[in-house]
């Protein structure tokens, strides 16, 4: 057991402007990371000289050692990266920061994510090249895979399975087949989060209301995913500061305690249904988080009925629906009727979810903005505040190896 004085707390949050992908070109992606980190540290009432740890998750181009130099950190005592693809590791990065401060490896660890897709490449870029290949191009053949990951997706890419919208459609389609889930039920998720975004000045889609009819009329991307079932693609950065209870006591903001954290990758899962056709039958049409959710709740000493507000990773609407089942808010197969009942709505919902608008309507910052919103919702500062919220669930990308947090306030 961690001694009470070292229990990890989230004490500061910060974010830059959020915009549509490719719209931030006036500063570099790492400059944006620095801005978010500075804001989060200032929000906590700490000095940059107090920061001795940086944590991030997969595919981060902004290496901690270089950021530490740019930020002038006196000594970087903890730098850590999660072994998970994309947004699955968001909460695990916070968890690693938690472990660092609780074990005394570091005192103040900042978790960060910065994305400027226009400066590099667009995730899931798979559209046709603008220029035709030369007439004397060599005939297609089998290429040498330069990594274990490429050898694995070598069995999916030749079939055109490149884009997340198509990949996550596969478990969602099977869920519809098994349980009768409908596209209108998926649409309810998107419409609900858009409504939440309407009060959030940071939300990229805050001024763009959406009805279920709008959702149903949107162009089909990869059946059953219409445009509005897919998360935004955004530029922006955010950061969260983690420190001990002892340090948290005297800081600027009401600290939020990490009640529990967990990560989980089921047997044989690899990249999950995203690339692995052989995910076990009993978990194929799920978010793959059920076993992890049980550990998460047990460690926090709470259950699904104790969750006052949830920030659920929403890369695609179907993945939200399957996670609601994984985390025990409804039975397996009943996610459709559950969301249809209005359960996720800020007002009148039994489980107000993604009160910032989520990746579907606030911004796609690989879900670290969900951790930021969780902190705000427990401080009483959300633009869709759940009155008296004391316990918040945050999840990371599902249908891939995932992670989650339960946060609370005393």
């Amino acid at each position: 057991m961690t001694e009470p004085a070292r229990r990890a707390h989230l004490v500061g949050v910060g974010e830059t402007r959020y915009s549509k992908w490719g719209k931030i070109g006036d500063v570099t992606e790492h400059a944006l990371a620095c801005e978010a980190i500075k804001k989060a540290v200032a929000d906590a009432g700490l000095s940059m000289d107090d920061v001795d740890g940086l944590a991030s998750f997969a595919e981060d181009r902004n290496e901690a050692i270089f950021l530490a130099a740019e930020l002038g950190l006196p000594e970087l005592r903890f730098a850590n990266m999660v072994w998970m693809p994309g947004g699955g590791g968001t909460c695990a990065a916070v968890s690693n920061a938690t472990m660092a401060v609780e074990t005394g490896q570091a005192e103040v660890v900042v978790v960060y994510r910065s994305l400027c897709q226009g400066q590099y490449f667009r995730f899931g870029q798979g559209g046709p090249p603008r220029v035709a290949p030369p007439a004397d191009a060599p005939p297609p053949t089998v290429q040498q895979a330069s990594s274990m990951m490429l050898a694995s997706i070598g069995f999916t890419m030749p079939y055109g399975l490149l884009n997340a919208a198509a990949a996550y459609a596969l478990p969602t389609r099977r869920h519809m087949h098994l349980y009768g889930t409908t596209t209108e039920q998926l649409g309810m998720i998107a419409v609900t989060f858009r409504e939440h975004a309407s009060r959030n000045p940071r939300a990229v889609m805050g001024s763009r209301p959406m009805t279920l009819e709008d959702h149903q009329k949107a162009p089909m991307i990869a059946d059953p995913h219409r445009l509005f079932d897919c998360c935004l693609e955004s530029d922006g950065a955010c950061a969260v500061v983690v420190t001990t209870a002892e340090r948290a006591r005297d800081l600027a903001r009401r600290p939020v305690e990490v009640l529990s954290s967990a990560q989980g990758t089921p047997k044989g899962y690899a990249f999950g249904p995203f690339s692995n056709a052989n995910v076990a039958d009993e978990i194929y049409a799920t978010g793959g988080c059920e076993a992890m959710a049980k550990r998460l709740y047990a460690r926090a000493g709470v259950g699904p009925s104790d969750i006052d507000v949830a920030q659920i990773y929403d890369h695609f609407t179907g993945c939200v629906l399957m996670q609601l089942e994984d985390y025990g808010f409804c039975k397996r197969g009943e996610g459709g009727p559950f969301v249809e009942s209005g359960a996720l709505a800020w007002q009148g919902g039994s489980l107000p979810t993604n009160t910032h608008g989520g990746s579907l309507s606030e911004a796609y910052i690989h879900g670290l903005n969900h951790v930021v919103e969780a902190v705000r919702s427990l401080r009483g500062e959300s633009t869709s505040q759940v009155e008296g919220a004391e316990v918040c669930l945050v999840t990371a990308g599902a249908c891939v190896p995932s992670s989650a947090l339960i946060l609370g306030r005393r």
């Binding site: 046709p128 040498q144 079939y159 099977r174 059953p224 052989n278």
Partner: protein, 139 residues
């Protein structure tokens, strides 16, 4: 020789464990990897059996029949001159110990697709060295 997809589709990438699978495919043989100790079958190829951890494996040729486990109708092209929509499916292979693979369903109207529908392999020769197993509905 029927072609459904353009040359510009992403080319397969294989490490030395997977090369024999593509060599079999070039001969229009659909194979799965089978453990010589416990007979567990698997795909993509891996160095050890995830069930009994044996290094021993052999290539087991399957019938090329199967059924739709899941699918998606994709409306955005991947390659230049590619026809859309196109269908990506998870195919449960017959006689393969429950092994599934990602592939495409060709020559089908998206509206006639449903999970459980019977399929058979349809080889597409992309070049002299490369054949890709796609599937069509058994009619």
């Amino acid at each position: 020789m029927t072609r459904w997809f353009p040359d510009g589709m992403p080319q397969p990438m294989a490490d030395s464990e997977a090369v024999p699978w593509w060599e079999a495919a070039a001969e229009h043989r659909l194979v799965v990897q089978r453990c010589t100790e416990c007979a567990h079958t698997r795909l993509p190829p891996t160095p050890i059996c995830p069930e009994c951890r044996s290094e021993g494996s052999e290539w087991h040729e399957v019938s090329g029949r199967g059924e739709i486990y899941s699918y998606t109708v994709v409306h955005r092209p991947i390659a230049l001159d590619q026809q859309v929509p196109f269908v990506i499916a998870v195919v449960a292979l017959e006689g393969a110990g429950g092994v599934r693979m990602i592939s495409n369903i060709v020559d089908a109207d998206p509206d006639e697709l449903s999970i459980g529908l019977a399929l058979e392999v349809a080889w597409e020769d992309m070049s002299d060295d490369l054949a890709i197993p796609r599937f069509r509905i058994v009619r």
